[in-house]
C-alpha cells in the first residue's frame, strides 16, 4: 500500500508536468494548426536556462526561476518572429518540416554549448514540500511539481476564460476568418501562443530536470511524449492535454513500479496506438458542433 501511494503521487506529479508541456503543444496546434516537433527541445532549453542561471551564475533561486521562465517566453516569441512568421500562408507541411529542422538545430546548439553530460541542480527545494503518508515520504520535488502544475493550470484557465487577449486567442482557434474580419491581430495571437507554449514547456523541463537530472537527450525524448499525451486527450483540447498527461504519467510510473522499468518508456506509445485504433479523436477531441 505504501508503495502504491508513493507511485501514485510520483505518477500524478510527473503526469502534471507532461500535461503542462502538452498544453503548450495543443495551444500552438489550435491557433495555427502547426504540429511542433521541436517541443522536446523547448523543454530542454528551459532546463538549461535554469541550469546556467542557478549552477553557474549562482543567482538566488526565486530570481532564477522567474528569469528562466521569462527567458523561455521571450525565446518562444523569437522563434515565432524569426522562423514561423515568414512562412504564414505557405502550406502547413513546410511549417511542420521547419519545426523538425528547429528541433535538430536546438539540440545541436545545446550539445555544442553544454555537451551531452548529465547535470544536476544544486539542492534547493525546502523540505516542507515533501509529502508524507505514514511511513511513506515522497521527495519535495514531486510536491513542487504538483504545486506548480496546479498553479499554472488555474492561471491559464483564468487567462483564457476572462482576459480579452485570451478570448482573442480562442477566437482565432475557432474561426480565423471571422477573427480577421473583426480586426484581431492574428500574428500577435500566433506569437503569444508560441511564447506561452515555450514558457510552459520550459517550466516542465525545469522541474523534470530536478527529478531526472538535465540531459538534452532525455529531455527531448520526454518532449516526444507529448504525442501520446495529446492523442489520448484529443489534439485540440487543452483540458484533454492535462488529463492525457496525468493518465500517461500514472501508467508509466505504475508500469515502472509493478512490471519492469524497461517497459515504462514503451507503454505510452502502446497507448497511443490503441487510442488511435479505438478513439481517433482522443478522449476530449472536439466533435464539430453541426448546426446549419
Amino acid at each position: 500500500m505504501d508503495f502504491f501511494v508513493q507511485l501514485l503521487v510520483g505518477g500524478l506529479s510527473v503526469g502534471f508536468l507532461y500535461g503542462l508541456s502538452a498544453m503548450g503543444f495543443v495551444m500552438i496546434f489550435k491557433s495555427s494548426s502547426v504540429l511542433n516537433f521541436a517541443h522536446g527541445e523547448l523543454l530542454a532549453i528551459g532546463a538549461y536556462f535554469f541550469l546556467a542561471l542557478a549552477a553557474w551564475a549562482k543567482l538566488p533561486i526565486p530570481l532564477v526561476f522567474l528569469l528562466a521562465i521569462g527567458g523561455c517566453f521571450l525565446f518562444g516569441l523569437m522563434i515565432e518572429r524569426i522562423f514561423l512568421r515568414p512562412l504564414i500562408g505557405e502550406p502547413l507541411i513546410f511549417v511542420i518540416m521547419l519545426t523538425v529542422g528547429l528541433a535538430a538545430m536546438f539540440k545541436g546548439l545545446i550539445l555544442l554549448i553544454w555537451g551531452g553530460n548529465l547535470y544536476t541542480y544544486p539542492d534547493f527545494l525546502p523540505k516542507a514540500l515533501a509529502i508524507r503518508f505514514g511511513v511513506v515520504s515522497v521527495p519535495p520535488v514531486y510536491g513542487a511539481a504538483l504545486l506548480i502544475g496546479t498553479l499554472f493550470l488555474i492561471l491559464f484557465g483564468l487567462f483564457f476564460k476572462f482576459s480579452s487577449q485570451g478570448i482573442y486567442m480562442r477566437s482565432v482557434a475557432d474561426n480565423q476568418r471571422a477573427a480577421l474580419s473583426l480586426g484581431v491581430n492574428v500574428k500577435r495571437v500566433f506569437a503569444l501562443s508560441w511564447a506561452i507554449a515555450a514558457l510552459v514547456a520550459g517550466m516542465s523541463g525545469i522541474v523534470l530536470g530536478i527529478i531526472n537530472g538535465v540531459n538534452v537527450h532525455n529531455l527531448s525524448a520526454i518532449g516526444l511524449k507529448v504525442f501520446p499525451v495529446v492523442i489520448l486527450g484529443g489534439l485540440d483540447s487543452i483540458g484533454g492535454a492535462i488529463i492525457g498527461g496525468i493518465i500517461i504519467g500514472l501508467l508509466e510510473t505504475f508500469t515502472g513500479g509493478y512490471l519492469s522499468t524497461s517497459l515504462r518508456d514503451v507503454v505510452p506509445y502502446i497507448v497511443l496506438v490503441l487510442i488511435l485504433l479505438i478513439k481517433p479523436y482522443g478522449l476530449f477531441g472536439l466533435k464539430e458542433i453541426e448546426r446549419v
Binding site: 474561426n175 480586426g183 448546426r291
Partner: protein, 266 residues
C-alpha cells in the same frame, strides 16, 4: 451633394493572379447612408466588400487596378488589421460565429480593434439593439439559432464602433419575420448611431425598402445605379429582382413567356 465616405474608382480584383472577378467597379457611398448592392450569385458583390475590408488578402486575391478611397486616404490592398482600425468592419456571409465561445465572449472579440479599453457600456448597447441574445449570453454560440447568430455577428461588429459597416447577406436562410426584424434593426443602427452601411442582398425587396441608394452588379460590373425609389420603379428591376410583371401586379406563372426577355442594360 453629401459627403462621400467611401469611393471605389474603377477597381479590378484578381484571385490567384489569374481569375478576374471584378472588372472595373466604381461606386460611391455617402456618409450616414445605407447603400445596397444587388445582383445574382457570382456577380462579384462579396468580392467588392472584401476588397474594401482587406479580407481578399488571406484568400489570395488582390486589387490590381483602380483605387479605394476612404476618408480621402487610399486603402486598397491594406491588411485587415489596418482597415478595421480605420473603422471599417465587415459582417461575413453565412454568419461565421465563434462556435465554442459563448455569446458574450463572441461579442468581446469585437473589441479587438481597441484592446484594453472598457467595453461594459458597449455590451449594454448591443443588448439594447438585440434583446433576443441577452437571454442567451452564457450559452455557446454553436447551439444558437440562425436568427440569434445573425444578431450576434451584427452585434459583434457593433462592438467595434464601426464608421462603415459592410453587411453581407444578413437575410440568408432566415424566416421572413426574422428577416423583417433584422432589417428594422439595420435601419435603427443607421439612424441612431449614424453608421454608414453597405448592404449586399439577394432579397432585393427588403434591401430597397431600407436603403437610400442602390447599385446593381452583374458579371463583375456595375450595370445600374440609382436612388432606392428609382430602382423600385424601374421595370427591369421589378421584373428580374422583385418578381413583378410590368403591369405592377405580382407575376403569375401563367403569363411567363417562353423566351428569355433581354435585360435592357446588356
Amino acid at each position: 451633394m453629401e459627403e462621400t465616405l467611401l469611393q471605389l474608382n474603377n477597381i479590378s480584383v484578381v484571385y490567384s493572379d489569374v481569375i478576374q472577378v471584378l472588372k472595373g467597379v466604381s461606386l460611391a457611398v455617402p456618409k450616414n447612408r445605407i447603400v445596397s448592392l444587388l445582383g445574382s450569385n457570382g456577380a462579384g458583390k462579396t468580392t467588392t466588400l472584401k476588397a474594401v475590408s482587406g479580407l481578399l488578402k488571406p484568400e489570395n486575391g488582390r486589387v490590381t487596378d483602380g483605387t479605394i478611397l476612404y476618408r480621402e486616404g487610399e486603402i486598397q490592398n491594406r491588411s485587415p488589421e489596418t482597415i478595421t482600425r480605420h473603422g471599417i468592419i465587415q459582417v461575413l456571409e453565412g454568419r461565421q460565429p465563434f462556435k465554442y465561445l459563448t455569446i458574450e465572449e463572441n461579442l468581446r472579440v469585437g473589441t479587438a480593434t481597441r484592446w484594453g479599453k472598457p467595453y461594459r457600456d458597449d455590451l449594454e448597447r448591443v443588448y439594447r439593439y438585440f434583446p433576443a441574445i441577452e437571454k442567451r449570453r452564457r450559452s455557446l454560440a454553436g447551439y444558437c439559432s440562425g436568427g440569434e447568430l445573425q444578431m450576434l455577428v451584427m452585434g459583434r461588429a457593433l462592438m467595434a464602433h464601426p464608421e462603415l459597416l459592410l453587411l453581407d447577406e444578413p437575410s440568408l436562410g432566415l424566416a421572413p419575420l426574422v428577416v423583417r426584424e433584422i432589417f428594422r434593426i439595420i435601419r435603427r443602427i443607421n439612424e441612431e448611431e449614424g453608421t454608414t452601411i453597405v448592404l449586399v442582398e439577394q432579397n432585393a425587396r427588403m434591401a430597397l425598402q431600407i436603403a437610400h441608394y442602390g447599385y446593381v452588379m452583374e458579371n463583375g460590373k456595375i450595370v445600374m445605379e440609382g436612388t432606392a425609389d428609382a430602382l423600385r420603379e424601374n421595370p427591369d428591376i421589378r421584373e428580374f429582382y422583385l418578381g413583378m410583371s410590368a403591369a405592377g401586379a405580382a407575376k403569375s406563372y401563367a403569363d411567363v413567356k417562353s423566351y428569355h426577355r433581354r435585360k435592357r442594360w446588356l
